[in-house]
């Protein structure tokens, strides 16, 4: 629980002073040092030129509030919007705004400012400002509008060309060096209560090795660790926090199959991949082999999509195709995990009679991608994957489980996407970090973190 307002802050400080020495009790103050791999050039939550990632979302959440949030059970929670309601047909949505919320520059968060921010992030929507609310109108039924508004890309920001966007989140920007460093300070009168730490300094663009070194040297309190190194990090005595799977690693074809033979060859490739070995050796047990697009904790039915290697069936299918072209398999050259997995997939595919040429050529017909889970809302998550794969976004009615399964199955039957693994997000924490409870969706909630006193 956090205290709200300055008087409470003073009171709680007094209480904490009395209880000094009790490490388990929250304490205000201090600077939290974070080291991350992402290197954003822009802090605009709606900037689509910046690649979406779990790390970026966590950064945005520190500075920008959304109208709604999603709790660990996937339920929508009020944030800047205290209430919301859809009109029949799900084309028109009303969001009542929280009163007395200010942007970091002190200006009042008004319905007009919210509407302007949402229009920037969603050019296809018609967003109207009312007295104390905003209205979102869509051209077609859009049952997922509320869930969309919980995404960080719909964080409310006051934009100007001269400076960084201004949010209303628990921290405000004190320094930003694009791609290198971001310094934040706690907003004293944050509507959700002041954060425990006074400031956060985030080192951007650090590779995993540098992050761990910074952590070991006490220069970082929180650092990312790749899933394949998580067990080793834990084995070396570091505090490890692991989320539920929040990232899909998949093979994505650039085009639909041009023939029945090509569809078969794509099936051969999917059947030839020994996901278990990769998960066991390459990922060292972190992550889940998956034949599904959505992780099981989100959809609940991922297990029905087979993920086991079936070399016999793969060879049988392959024998039905006379000639198989050599496919270039592109992966991110800066991602060492992707390189090993791509090479392993090429070896597996060769066993089934398909020639894959791993490389970093950007124009390849086949790509190995990491697709972050866009939302715990399966509709939004599926739509996001469809966007990555270049497929049309699936349409949903009421958003029932069966409807979602049918949509995912239809996507898989296009043979454009071959799911491989569902990967978690992993972090290591310094001993001084307290209160960190990463959610299933890997959201940080650093406003709830406090630092244990380093004095004896």
């Amino acid at each position: 629980m956090r205290l709200s307002g300055f008087p409470l802050l003073v009171a709680s400080s007094l209480v904490l002073a009395v209880a000094a020495g009790a490490d388990t009790r929250p304490a205000y103050g201090g600077t939290l040092h974070v080291s991350v791999g992402i290197a954003p050039r822009s802090l605009d939550p709606a900037d689509t030129s910046e690649p979406d990632s779990i790390g970026r979302r966590n950064l945005m959440q520190l500075m920008f509030d959304t109208l709604l949030t999603v709790n660990s059970q996937g339920r929508l929670q009020p944030a800047l919007a205290t209430a919301w309601q859809a009109e029949p047909g799900n084309q028109r949505w009303h969001f009542s705004l929280r009163n007395h919320v200010h942007f970091h520059d002190g200006s009042l968060l008004t319905p007009e400012a919210v509407a302007a921010s949402l229009r920037t992030a969603n050019p296809g929507w018609k967003v109207l400002a009312a007295a104390d609310s905003v209205v979102v109108e869509c051209d077609a039924p859009a049952p997922d509008v509320a869930a969309q508004l919980a995404r960080t890309r719909n964080g409310i920001a006051k934009r100007s060309t001269a400076r960084n966007p201004i949010g209303s989140g628990p921290f405000y920007i004190t320094d930003f060096q694009a791609g290198k460093k971001l310094a934040l300070a706690a907003l004293e009168n944050y509507w959700g209560g002041r954060a425990y730490v006074d400031a956060i300094e985030i080192e951007l663009g650090r590779n995993g090795r540098d992050q761990l070194i910074a952590l070991d040297l006490g220069k970082a309190d929180i650092a990312e660790v790749p899933p394949e190194q998580a067990q080793r990090a834990a084995g070396e005595g570091r505090r490890l926090v692991t989320s539920a799977p929040v990232e899909l690693m998949a093979l994505v074809f650039a085009h639909d199959p041009q023939s029945q033979d090509e569809s078969k060859l794509r099936q051969v490739l999917a059947l030839s991949i020994d996901r278990a070995s990769i998960e066991n050796v390459v990922l060292e047990g972190e992550g889940e082999p998956s034949g599904a697009i959505l992780p099981n904790w989100v959809s609940g039915y991922a297990f029905v999509f087979p993920e086991e290697q079936n070399l016999l069936r793969a060879r049988q299918l392959r024998s039905e195709v006379r000639q198989a072209p050599a496919w270039d398999l592109a992966y991110d050259g800066s991602d060492s995990l992707a390189r090993v997995i791509a090479e392993r997939i090429a070896l597996n595919a060769r066993d089934a009679g398909i020639l894959l040429q791993p490389g970093v050529a950007p124009g390849a017909a086949l790509r190995l991608l990491r697709i972050p889970l866009a939302s715990v809302d399966p509709r939004i998550a599926l739509a996001s994957v469809a966007g990555f794969a270049g497929l049309p976004a699936p349409r949903f009615g009421v958003g029932s489980g069966d409807e979602i399964y049918q949509a995912e199955n239809a996507m898989l039957e296009t043979h454009r996407v071959i799911p491989l693994f569902q990967l978690p997000a992993c972090y290591v924490l310094s001993p001084s970090v307290q209160g960190a409870s990463q959610g299933r969706a890997a959201d940080w909630h650093l406003e709830d973190v406090w630092l244990k006193s380093k004095l004896p």
Binding site: V281, A342, R344, L347
Partner: protein, 607 residues
């Protein structure tokens, strides 16, 4: 070509051949020396390569033994069967041990961890068989298939044995640019590596420590030959049109552990030094040759002056002698052969002069004698009737006075006849002695021939004479010449008379004209009795005749006329086969100009 030029040519040729021979020999010696040096440098470089190879091999073995005996290998051996956790171990250890290749393989040949191909975990390592037999062997060459192509490496195998578990450590270093760069190459040499001596030629595989090989296709035949034969080979490669860029490339196969050729070491030796040296030799040869030829010119001029001047003097003196100046003498300027030749020449001309004088005197005496004989003979014939007539008159006056008047009249007639004969004889001699100078005028020789033929036309078929067939074969288009038409007519007439006399039984007389070079040619040919060789020699001697009643002046007159015209007369004859007289006359056009000038001058002076 005169002697001076021959001497110059001989000198120049001698110098040129000498310099060329020396240059060729020097070039040959240089080339052989360069080739020997090149071979020695190549051998040295191959030895250097072998030393470096051995050093790296020992280093690889040492590092692999360290890895096999290390904690990581022991841990891995103990955990065989648990595949998790070793993915990056090989790469990490390889990096720490500075190895390019490292794989941990269990006793069944399954890859536990691979530095060069991390994704191959769980696969069988098929590149080596019978690993157990390799654990004590030194390092060897092995090809390694990587994602980006085939590379050649120096590999060794060592074993980490924990209990009954066998863990093989296979590692090595890449034979790459870095390895080649570690070779101590002499200037002008380079080392390349072709790491795949089994699958033809692929330019991308060539390893050059200096960067990318330009025009790699030129190495293809050499590499293919070594791949085919398995033996070292050499080729001369021309990288550009400049011979200095040529390179002698030695290709040496590199065998692997099973003695199969895995790679090819290419050692290039630039020919720039040799070509530059050869160019210097050629330049020096050209310079020396040019200077030599210049010296040859000077020497030959000096020698020619020394040698040919007396010879030229001799030649000029000989020409003077040939022209009739027997008093010609040359200067004897040396005591050598040329001097002796000059002295001999002087003696010869002296003797010729003496002989000429004697001959002239003898000929003069002979001529006088001949003249006297001819005069005596000619005069004797009319004088004898004169004597008889006078004696007859005297006898008639004494013995038959009554018949004297009649006898006197008859004798007077006889006397007058004989006296006329005497006068005719004297006139002919007088005519010969008073041959006139030619009166130059344009003359058509064909007209002259036709005129003479017409003059004698009556005699060709005269009664009492055998028939003569006269043929005119006159060339058309002969330009007029400068001559005296009357003298020419007389000369041709004399020859025609001789021809008629030579054909008492009749025959064919041919008058022919033509041109030869710049001269006009006239031929008078008969089919008469012909002349002997001796008669031909003496034919133009004054007062010589082969006829019983000839004066011997006819042909002498002809010769005199032709000589006055600057021409030449010759005779071809064979006894019984006829005779041909040939007159060759110059055009003498300058005589006409001279005469015109004289006439003009005379006319001017007359006015």
């Amino acid at each position: 070509m005169n002697f001076r030029r021959k001497l110059l040519a001989t000198f120049a040729l001698t110098v040129f051949l000498s310099v060329a021979a020396v240059a060729w020999i020097v070039s040959l010696v240089t080339r052989r020396a360069f080739e020997r040096s090149d071979e020695e440098r190549t051998r040295a470089l191959v030895s250097e390569f072998q030393r470096e190879f051995d050093r790296h091999a020992e280093e690889v073995v040492r590092r692999l033994e360290a890895i096999a005996g290390g904690e990581a290998a022991t841990r891995m051996a103990l955990a065989l069967g648990v595949s998790r956790g070793f993915l990056n171990d090989a790469a990490r250890i390889a990096e720490s041990q500075q190895l390019d290749f490292l794989e941990f393989v269990d006793g069944a040949g399954t890859i536990i961890s691979s530095a060069q191909s991390p994704a191959k975990f769980g696969y069988q390592d098929t590149s080596l068989t019978d690993l157990a037999s390799l654990v004590r062997k030194p390092a060897f060459l092995k090809r390694e298939e990587l994602a980006d192509g085939t590379v050649l490496g120096l590999f060794a195998v060592r074993e980490a044995k924990v209990g009954e578990e066998h863990l093989y450590v296979i590692g090595g270093q890449r034979l790459d640019k870095k390895f080649l760069a570690s070779l101590d190459l002499p200037p002008g040499m380079r080392a390349l590596l072709y790491p795949d001596a089994a699958s033809g030629f692929s330019p991308q595989l060539l390893v050059d420590p200096a960067g990318t090989v330009t025009q790699p296709e030129k190495l293809a035949p050499l590499i293919r030959e070594v791949e085919k034969t398995g033996q070292p080979s050499i080729a001369l490669l021309d990288w550009s049109s400049d011979p200095a860029d040529d390179e002698t490339m030695h290709a040496i196969p590199l065998p692997g552990q099973d003695n199969r050729e895995l790679g090819i070491l290419l050692i290039g030796s630039s020919r720039r030094t040799y070509v530059n040296l050869k160019r210097h030799i050629q330049s020096a040869a050209l310079l020396v040759g040019g200077a030599g030829i210049l010296v040859a010119i000077l020497l030959s001029s000096w020698a020619a002056t020394r040698v040919t001047r007396p010879v030229e003097q001799l030649a000029a003196a000989a020409r003077a002698v040939a022209a009739g100046n027997l008093k010609t003498q040359v200067e004897v300027s040396s005591s050598d052969e040329v001097g002796e030749l000059a002295a001999a020449f002087n003696r010869m001309t002296g003797e010729l002069l003496e002989q000429k004088d004697r001959l002239v005197q003898a000929e003069r005496v002979a001529a006088w004698r001949e003249l006297a004989r001819r005069l005596a003979h000619e005069l004797k014939n009319p004088l004898f009737p004169l004597q008889l007539t006078v004696e007859n008159l005297l006898r008639a006056r004494e013995q038959e006075p009554e018949m004297f008047e009649e006898i006197f009249r008859e004798s007077s007639a006889t006397l007058l006849t004989e006296i006329n004969n005497l006068k005719a004889i004297i006139a002919r001699f007088s005519e010969f002695s008073q041959m006139p100078r030619p009166h130059w005028q344009p003359v058509q020789v064909n007209d002259v021939m036709r005129g003479v033929a017409r003059l004698f036309q009556a005699q060709f078929g005269a009664r009492g004479h055998a028939a003569i067939d006269c043929r005119l074969e006159l060339a058309e288009g002969i330009a007029p010449i400068a001559a005296d038409a009357e003298l020419l007519h007389r000369a041709v007439s004399n020859l025609l008379l001789n021809a008629l006399d030579a054909m008492p039984e009749g025959g064919t007389l041919t008058l022919r004209t033509g041109t030869q070079d710049d001269r006009v040619r006239l031929e008078i040919r008969d089919t008469g009795t012909g002349l002997t060789a001796e008669e031909c020699q003496r034919l133009f001697t004054p007062y010589f005749t082969s006829k019983q009643h000839g004066t011997g002046l006819g042909l002498a007159i002809v010769q005199s006329v032709i000589s006055d015209h600057g021409g030449k007369i010759s005779v071809r004859s064979q006894a019984g086969a006829g005779t041909t007289f040939i007159l060759e006359l110059p055009r003498n056009l300058d005589k006409l100009e001279a005469r015109a000038a004289e006439d003009s001058e005379r006319a001017t002076s007359a006015r």
